[in-house]
């Protein structure tokens, strides 16, 4: 498809397990963002990739969170030793790279930690 694709759409896991979330950005989009949306809250920035530059990790809430991106394509967000407070919708967005270009969002991964 032409949009940002995220998988899985839903993930339920037990506390303490590791999870990996995937994002396929729009082809040609050099910028990729991960956000977290907790129930009743706005979006919280996690990490930002721009081309081959070092990622901006300033939004990651703890060292249990990490993300990688292969070139200008797929990105994975990994949460280790999940906690109940990690339950949220994780949204990925991509854009053409210039900061004023609109960010296109995927439908998100709904993560539930039991």
């Amino acid at each position: 498809g032409a949009g940002v694709s995220q998988s899985p759409s839903n993930k339920v896991t037990e506390k303490g397990k590791d999870v990996e979330l995937r994002c396929d950005p729009i082809s040609g989009h050099t910028a990729l963002y991960w956000y977290r949306q907790r129930l009743g809250q706005g979006l919280e920035f996690l990490i930002y990739f721009q081309g081959n530059s070092a990622p901006d990790k300033s939004g990651l809430p703890s060292d249990r969170f990490s993300a990688e991106r292969t070139g200008e394509s797929v990105s994975t967000l990994t949460i280790q030793r999940t906690q109940q407070e990690d339950s949220a919708v994780y949204l990925c967005a991509s854009s053409r790279g210039q900061w004023h270009q609109p960010q296109h969002f995927g439908d998100g991964t709904r993560l539930s930690i039991l």
Binding site: V4, E44, Y48, G59, H100, F105, D107
Partner: protein, 114 residues
């Protein structure tokens, strides 16, 4: 630091009535402002953006917003709403410096009743 305040968490309105969703921002740099809409179980879709120039910005689905520098506001308006406009609306400002991510408000849930 940049921040966004959406003053109303919920706005109920009758179909064909006008609506205004309020947004105030704080920015240490010239602000670049966005409104996004989120339908249930979907990602965010850009409604409109203000970068510079005319303070009245027109977006999709008949929405418009006005940038007011003196009041640090960027309120979203529509003269006549439809049932299909029921969704959550997020105001956002671009983070400053070299950061490309957006800082979001907590959202306003618009409920359009027949």
């Amino acid at each position: 630091a940049q921040s966004v305040t959406q003053l109303d968490s919920q706005v109920p309105v009758f179909e064909e009535a006008p609506v205004e969703l309020r947004c105030n921002y704080s920015s240490s740099v010239p602000p670049y402002l966005f409104w996004y809409v989120q339908y249930p179980n979907q990602g965010l879709q850009l409604l409109l953006k203000y970068l510079s120039g005319s303070t009245l910005v027109k977006g999709i689905n008949g929405f418009e917003a006005e940038f007011n520098k003196s009041q640090t506001s960027f309120h979203l308006r529509k003269p006549s709403v439809h049932i299909s406009d029921t969704a959550e609306y997020f105001c956002a400002v671009r983070a400053g410096g070299s950061q490309g991510n957006l800082i979001f408000g907590k959202g306003t849930k618009l409920s359009v009743k027949p």
